[in-house]
């Protein structure tokens, strides 16, 4: 902060414009991460590769050969970025979508339970927040439990919920979605309570002078005020919902979904598969959060609240 204030505004460096924003530094940092990834891939994979050479009785292997070999192992300790990229390309573009080996198929399954859980969770969160804002008893008795519900490591219950619901005859999408629901309702509730209470006293007084009913005050004042808070908390809720869906897929015995890919990969030592599922989950999370970001911009612009 101090240094930026002191930085000279005029500079002869042509890249200064790029580097003073966020784009330049982000690109540099990403490149640095990739470089570190490559280097650690070589270092981590070297012991196994050396063992291979010893078994093949090849004493004098040039360093360049060693490096290319470590980056092309079948089950490396740490796969190189290009290996993961190849695996993702192979399992998304070259496989049919309906195939069980297609990553798109597994991503779709995870996505559907994430979205279902997110929808239920957001609805529940908004309803709870409306209740808490309008009822003193709910505020006093529910709010502490809403907060402490998140100190419970709920993901620990995930396998249980799935097994129990399976025993009752409910299987498939809903049990996984319930875990996502549990994780995503909390940020929405907390954010919406804050948002619904954000109108200033003077605005509430204005509604009173208009003789507005509680319903009108809610619909015309509180809700519009809460919309920015809703979008912020929906972003957090979406990320949490995806985590819930992935963990929910672990105990089902690795049938389908990104979580199942992770589990199967760890059973059979397929590190490349684990990393590709992991990166896919990261892309999915980024895309979903970005989608909500776009929705936020559009809605706020229509409401005339965009900065």
């Amino acid at each position: 902060m101090i240094n930026t204030a002191l930085a000279s505004p005029r500079s002869t460096n042509p890249f200064a414009g790029l580097m003073s924003g966020t784009t330049g530094p982000v690109i540099v940092v990403v490149c640095a991460i990739l470089a570190i990834w490559y280097i650690s891939a070589v270092i981590l994979n070297t012991p196994f590769q050396k063992e291979m050479y010893e078994r093949a009785n090849r004493g004098d292997v040039p360093v360049s050969q060693l490096v290319t070999d470590t980056l092309a192992q079948e089950r490396p300790v740490l796969p190189a970025p290009h290996q993961v990229a190849q695996e993702i390309w192979k399992t998304t573009v070259e496989k049919k979508v309906t195939s069980k080996r297609s990553l798109v198929y597994h991503t779709g399954i995870t996505l559907s339970s994430t979205l279902l859980g997110f929808l239920i969770g957001t609805t529940l969160g908004i309803l709870l927040a409306v209740g808490i804002v309008h009822s003193r008893v709910l505020d006093k008795s529910m709010m502490p439990w809403v907060i402490s519900s998140q100190t419970i490591p709920i993901l620990a219950i995930a396998p249980m919920i799935i097994v129990v619901l399976n025993a009752v005859g409910i299987s498939g999408l809903l049990p996984k979605a319930m875990i996502s629901t549990y994780l995503s309702f909390f940020p929405v509730t907390v954010g919406m309570v804050k948002g619904l209470r954000s109108p200033e006293v003077i605005h509430m007084d204005l509604m009173h002078t208009y003789s507005a009913t509680r319903w009108q005050t809610f619909w015309k004042l509180r809700l519009p005020y809460a919309v920015p808070y809703l979008f912020t908390s929906m972003k957090i809720g979406m990320a949490a919902s995806l985590v819930g869906a992935i963990v929910g897929e672990l105990p089902t015995g690795a049938v389908a979904g990104l979580g199942a890919r992770l589990l199967a990969g760890s059973y059979y030592g397929q590190t490349v598969q684990i990393w590709s599922a992991l990166l896919m989950a990261a892309f999915l999370a980024g895309a979903l959060v970005a989608l909500i970001g776009v929705m936020e911009k559009v809605v706020l612009k229509k409401m005339g609240m965009a900065q």
Partner: protein, 383 residues
């Protein structure tokens, strides 16, 4: 404000609830409580107890007992009725019919009424007021447990699906050594060590990043992105790298706690405004003095926010990482194996321990926050 809303027609929740209690008790007394033909009257103590409840309900809906003594009486009668009803339900498991369920609803409504009245109390004594404010959520939780117990025993839900709270409690008290060993493995080793290393290293990195504005601009957006990612997915990789014992779990916890702490600390360090920094400069203070006397204290609310988020993340990370491979001890291991063996009460006992540990951990961090950031407006408002 109050005069305006009072003039408008509004239904009185308390009298509505009281009417509900009366109705349910009347229904219960008229119908069979348990199969094949057992009425509430066959258990005199229960009938008398709920008779009291109905009388109190009548007084409420007529507007007599709207005072503290009446409220306390209601509370005592509700609690004793709950006690009796649970005892009776246990002697006829699975045979409950209309009468019993009407009593359960009556009980639920009376607890609600009690909480409703409690929330309306205005006490002059601040200590008492705080106690009452504490009692309300506790009562809510107790009601939940009572309804759970009554529902499960009344409907005869098989233990494999959902055990009653009393069964979970019995299991909890009889298998303390196992639970303690799991707790030691997961919480005392993986969670605490991972949490300390993760938060500590993120704090150090944040201070380094803060010195280099270029890094700050480059790392912050990426850190924000990574905070939104399902990092829990690295668990199988960590198990592969660091083996089955606790170091792999601690590694997952380190990665999970690192980014929230980094992002929060960096944005906390940027929290000071120009006036404050100028003041430090007029005092001729150097970088470290500014850091320790101005910027770190200003960043504390942000840092504690991250520490609180991380306290729950750490426990989740350690437990989920155990699903991917572990020695034969640990909370995540116990949960996944006991689910397989259909010992659901043991699973719930483990979850209760995890919930208690998580809440205490969070509470401890929150207490620390209160002690460190006592000057912050959000703390002052609560006091």
């Amino acid at each position: 404000m109050s005069s305006l809303s009072d003039r408008r027609v509004r239904f009185d929740t308390a009298s509505l609830l009281a009417a509900g209690v009366i109705l349910c008790v009347v229904v219960a007394l008229a119908t069979t409580a348990f199969l094949p033909d057992r009425y509430v009257f066959n258990t005199p103590s229960l009938a008398i107890q709920f008779g009291f409840l109905a009388i109190l309900g009548v007084r409420y809906s007529l507007g007599f007992a709207h005072n503290m003594a009446g409220d306390i009486a209601l509370g005592i009668v509700s609690v004793t009725s709950a006690w009796l009803l649970i005892a009776v339900a246990h002697s006829y498991p699975g045979d409950a019919t209309t009468g019993f369920w009407a009593l359960v609803v009556a009980l639920w409504l009376s607890f609600w009424l009690f909480v409703e009245r409690l929330a309306a109390w205005s006490l002059p004594n601040p200590t008492l007021a705080r106690l009452v404010n504490l009692a309300i959520p506790v009562l809510f939780g107790a009601t939940f447990l009572i309804l759970w117990e009554l529902g499960v025993t009344g409907a005869g839900v098989p233990r494999v699906l959902l055990p009653a709270p009393s069964e979970i409690w019995i299991r909890l008290t009889t298998s303390v050594p196992t639970l303690w060993a799991d707790f030691q493995q997961t919480f005392l080793k993986a969670v605490l060590i991972g949490y300390a290393i993760g938060c500590g290293s993120a704090f150090v990195v944040a201070i380094l990043v803060d010195r280099v504005p270029f890094l700050r601009r480059g790392l912050l957006p990426i850190g924000n992105l990574v905070s939104a990612l399902p990092i829990i997915g690295v668990a199988p990789i960590m198990v592969m790298w660091f083996g089955f014992d606790w170091p792999s779990k601690a590694a997952v916890v380190i990665i999970m706690t690192f980014f929230p702490m980094l992002v929060n600390t960096v944005s906390g360090l940027a929290e000071t405004d120009a006036m404050q920094r100028d003041l430090m400069r007029t005092y001729a203070s150097n970088y470290w003095q500014t850091l320790f006397k101005l910027r770190l204290p200003m960043a504390m609310p942000f840092i504690f926010n991250a520490l609180k988020i991380n306290s729950t993340l750490a426990l989740i990370g350690a437990i989920v990482a155990e699903f991917f491979g572990t020695p034969i001890v640990g909370m995540g291991f116990r949960i996944s194996t006991e689910v397989g063996r259909m010992n659901v009460d043991m699973v719930w006992a483990e979850i209760a321990v995890a919930a208690l540990a998580g809440s205490l951990f969070y509470g401890f961090v929150a207490l620390l926050e209160r002690a460190v950031t006592f000057w912050h407006p959000s703390m002052r408002a609560k006091m």
